[in-house]
Amino acid sequence: MIRKDTLLYKLTQLHWFLLLTIIAMAMFGTLILFSAGSSAHDLETGLLRIDPRFAIDHLFRFTVMLGVMLFVALLPLRLWASLAYPAYAIGVALLVMVDLAGNIVNGSQRWLTLGPLTLQPSELMKIAVPLALARFYHQMFAAGRSGLWIHIVAFVMVMLPVGFVLKQPDLGTSLMILGAGCGVIFFAGISLRLVAGIIVLVAAMAPLVYYFGLHDYQRERIQTMWNPEADPLGAGYQLQQGMIAIGSGGLAGKGFMEGAQKELDYIPEQHTDFIFTIVAEEFGFAGSMVLLAAWAIAIVQGMVIAGASRSAFGSLAASGFIVTLLLYVGINVGMVIGLLPVVGIPLPLISYGGTAIVTVMIGFGLLMAVHLNRANDMTLRGLI
């Protein structure tokens, strides 16, 4: 019998089903990225062309992040609760610095260079905001406080970073932070009537925001979504070519590395935000469904973990991250298939690129930590 306080025991207690789901998705992502660089019939030569660089990079990043995930999972959840506020505070401070001294890339001020490091603090906030809110509610509930005002304080805590990220401007990320934050507030028991009222209000405000709150390019993207054919060579081009790729995939797809659309470089950023077009073209409706099902399984598993936690912090932090996951998948796939305007949100574990995988794997690590500590109701004693 393994003693309960050893690392080995903890490892056996990991949520293996969720872990395997994650690994399976990352492997699928590696396969897709291999295809993104390669081709069964290269247009230039007609021969097999293989370029595994994307796939190798992706696999490498995932392996490193898998280690990080296990590290996060195996440390006591109490420690993460202690770190919630400092992480939030540092995140906000970094956002202020980005605003003052960030690097402008592609017209957006998102990156911050600190010595040798280049950070995207808005990415950190995807984790830090739900954590800080969970910690806040945990404290409030422990102190027996309730009422509308704590939700208002929580909302202010959400809007502070959201405002900075929106100013960068990074609509996608700010929406995701907002979503995750509001998700935590929702799970913390805000009155449903109030939620319904807010939704109605937002719906009513939407036209105003559309005409006065958005940048021109953002409006353009929304228009493009409704009518991509109107501008086949401009903003709608990518979308339309992506949809041709997806649609022509059919039920079973064209087969691994057989996608034709990627050959012509018709779809810019196909290996990053538009990776789903390759999944859909080469593996068809069936492959798309398998991938979406994998995400659905991960989300449901996550919610089961959230519900099983005895501590408010664990439950709420887990829920906030699950909301983030749903937003990632929903927004990315939604924009690629033309249901949502194009915002720069990648498909985690599948898309090429380092930032989303870091966020998501740390989030999964926290989720696992919540699972391992589900029996701990975490009294406030000992929390820094």
Binding site: L43, E44, T45, G46, Y137, M140, F141, A142, G144, R145, S146, G183, F186, F187, A188, G189, L192, M243, I244, A245, I246, G247, S248, G249, G250, L251, A260, Q261, E263, L264, Y266, A280, G284, F285, S288, M289, L292, W295, A296, I299, V300, M303, A306, G307, A312, S315, L316, S319, I322, V323, L326, G330, V333, G334, I337, G338, L339
Partner: protein
């Protein structure tokens, strides 16, 4: 403890999962719509015909001589291309097509093999050139057979042609199909010119467009000479043709597209007179002593390079469609170096032609007066050894005038010793030596004007200057070198004085800035006059080394104002080997040149200008391994000068090319 949230959580979770379910259902529904219900529509779209623009090679600018004679022009070209993907899927299928068209065009076996290799290895959707420069009959035959030859198409385009053949091989160069290195170089140049980063979207698009253009079967790139130097201007802007293409990139049809015409390349006018150039080539060719060499002539009044030839030379037309490796190897290995631009790239010891520099430096620095006398016993002792005069018997007492006239080495040993290398180097630079002239041609070398600093910094020597080095430099040997072009500039400066314009080769078409030319500057009164008088004595006074070839117009037949014109010049012989004491006979004379193998004979040089009263043309002639400058090079220089005076290219108004339609439409009036 507040348990509200705990009680609420399951219902909230259901609401959330319900919302998530709606999201996934929405995604699924949309995917089903696109992939299951509208699959046909998108599949059709994927194959749908779309219009793609492909570059069409622009008209390459013509290169003219100063009188408007075409030196490099574009002629109609019938060519045949093969598109591998249409010819067949397998090597055998493509091979069959190549064999059939090859028999039709009588291509060699090796050519057919390399074509098959190219067709199989390269991108299959890209046309490859099967053959060009076809006759009308061949073209028509392929056209008739084309429906049976899958992937073969007969096209009409333009091909570079060089009507004067070998005469301008070195200066104008030639065009050929671009290889990867050419394309990479051009991409770099054009990106730098447009100030675009290679990684930027615009930079990538530009690079891709350049690559596509140069991969076109009818497109050529300047490989050397003006063709390479002026590539950007000569090339023009590609037009575009519209191709009907499906989503997989297959071309279905070509559409007429007059509205997408490109901009033709700029025409270039050279200062060279083709007539004079041809005369020089024939003059060399008819001289049994002149197997290889070069001549440069400069119009002193304008700086125009009116003749710049290097012989022997291959016919650049051979290169345009690719020269087979056998003949090319023969050209490369021939001992006359036909591929080498001897006038511009050839660096030779100037020999006695350098004595003008030493004479001017001695007078300018005050080290010698014109009347100072030196005794020449046939050799002179300096520091550690004897330095021989070319005439073992000696010249007796000589001064600056007779020293130049008789080319007495002893006089110039003494003059060099007294003047010192630094002063000599200064004057050499002021005479235009030691400089690579930017003419608009690729290549080009600068001779060496040595001094102490040069010797210390030369990575292969790194020694201080020894006094003995100065003695050798005094007669244009040792470290001193010059190109025939530099020598022509030197003579034009000596003859024309400080106001002589800098040399130029390109009169219009593109600019060739050369900001580092050393200005001549004013000399002390009498210096240039004394040097000119010495040069005049060489050709015209008894005892002058070239007095036998010094008569420009013995019969008074030159047209006015050049009737009875006189010339002034200086001979030179440059050793190509070290003469050891064992090679000298009892009287100190070296083995006669004509008894040596050709490769070991001295180079013969002659520099001259005419007319002496109002100098107009300066010439430098080098006959490689020609032996004596005064007996081999001087007659050639004389004949070139005489022909220049007869023909007088500088007196005629230079040719101005007609502006082409596109420029005219922009409001530029033809002049």
């Amino acid at each position: 403890m507040n348990r509200d949230w705990k009680n609420l959580f399951p219902s909230r979770r259901m609401i959330f999962l319900g919302a998530g379910g709606v999201v996934f259902l929405g995604l699924t529904a949309r995917l089903a719509e696109l992939q299951l219900f509208r699959q046909q529509e998108f599949e059709t779209k994927a194959r749908e015909v779309r219009i793609k623009l492909e570059p069409a090679p622009p008209h390459r600018g013509t290169i003219y001589d100063r009188n408007g004679r075409e030196l490099a022009s574009s002629k109609r070209n019938f060519y045949v291309t093969l598109r591998p993907e249409v010819a067949g899927k397998t090597r055998e299928e493509i091979g069959k097509v190549i064999e059939r068209v090859g028999r039709l065009l009588r291509l060699s076996e090796s050519k057919m093999r390399s074509l098959l290799q190219e067709a199989v290895a390269g991108p299959r959707h890209r046309d490859i050139l099967v053959a060009d420069d076809l006759t009308w009959q061949e073209f028509a035959q392929v056209n008739v057979m084309a429906p049976e030859l899958a992937g073969i198409s007969a096209e009409v385009g333009e091909l570079r042609s060089y009507p004067l053949q070998a005469a301008f091989y070195h200066t104008i160069g030639y065009v050929q199909k671009a290889n990867e290195a050419d394309i990479t170089r051009i991409v770099e140049q054009e990106l730098a010119a447009a100030n675009e980063a290679p990684e930027s979207p615009e930079g990538k698009a530009r690079a891709a467009a350049i690559r596509r253009l140069y991969k076109h079967p009818a497109m050529r790139v300047g490989k050397q000479g003006i063709e390479a130097y002026g590539e950007a201007e000569l090339k023009g802007e590609p037009g575009r043709i519209r191709l009907l293409q499906n989503a997989t990139g297959r071309v279905i049809d070509r559409l007429p597209s007059e509205d997408l015409a490109g901009r033709p390349g700029k025409d270039v006018v050279l200062s060279i007179d083709a007539e004079l150039q041809n005369f020089a080539i024939q003059r060399f060719g008819s001289d049994p002593h002149a197997r290889a060499g070069s001549a440069v002539m400069i119009d002193i009044a304008t700086g125009d390079v009116v003749c710049m030839m290097s012989t022997p030379a291959p016919d650049p037309n051979l290169f345009v469609s690719g020269i087979p490796s056998g003949p090319y190897k023969a050209l490369r290995e021939a001992e006359e170096n036909p591929l080498y631009h001897k006038a511009y790239d050839g660096v030779y010891p100037p020999g006695s032609t350098f004595k003008m520099v030493v004479a001017a430096a001695a007078l300018e620095s005050g080290a010698m007066k014109p009347e100072d006398q030196v005794h020449c016993p046939g050799k002179a002792w300096y520091y550690t050894r004897y330095y021989n005069c070319w005439r073992p018997e000696g010249h007796g007492v000589v001064n600056l005038h007779t020293g130049l006239q008789k080319s007495c080495d002893c006089y110039f040993y003494k003059a060099a010793e007294r003047t010192g290398i630094e002063e000599i180097a200064k004057v050499a630079k002021r005479f235009g030596l030691g400089h690579r002239y930017e003419l608009g041609i690729t290549g080009g070398k600068s001779g060496v004007v040595p001094n102490n600093e040069w010797k210390l910094n030369n990575p292969r020597i790194r020694e201080r200057w020894y006094p003995g080095d100065t003695i050798s430099a005094g007669i244009g040997q040792g470290y001193v070198t010059a190109t025939p072009f530099e020598l022509a500039v030197m003579v034009s400066r000596i003859a024309g004085g400080p106001s002589t314009p800098n040399p130029r080769l390109i009169m219009s078409g593109f600019k060739v800035p050369d900001s580092t030319i050393t200005p001549m500057g004013e000399f002390k009164p009498g210096v240039l006059e004394a040097v000119r008088a010495g040069m005049f004595a060489v050709t015209s006074e008894g005892g002058g080394t070239a007095v036998r070839s010094g008569e420009l117009d013995p019969e008074g037949k030159l047209p006015a104002p050049y009737t009875n014109a006189r010339m002034a010049g200086k001979s030179g012989s440059a050793q190509v080997r070290v003469i050891t004491a064992a090679e000298r006979d009892s009287r100190g004379r070296a083995i006669a040149n004509d008894k040596l193998p050709w490769k070991l004979r001295d180079h013969a040089l002659f520099v001259a200008y005419a007319p002496t009263d109002k100098p107009r043309y300066a010439v430098s002639v080098i006959v490689e391994h020609g032996g004596s400058g005064s007996s081999v090079a001087a007659p050639i220089a004389r004949d070139l000068l005489a022909h220049a005076l007869r023909h007088d290219p500088g007196a005629r108004k230079p040719f101005v090319p007609q502006q082409r339609d596109v420029a005219a439409a922009d409001g530029v009036q033809p002049t």
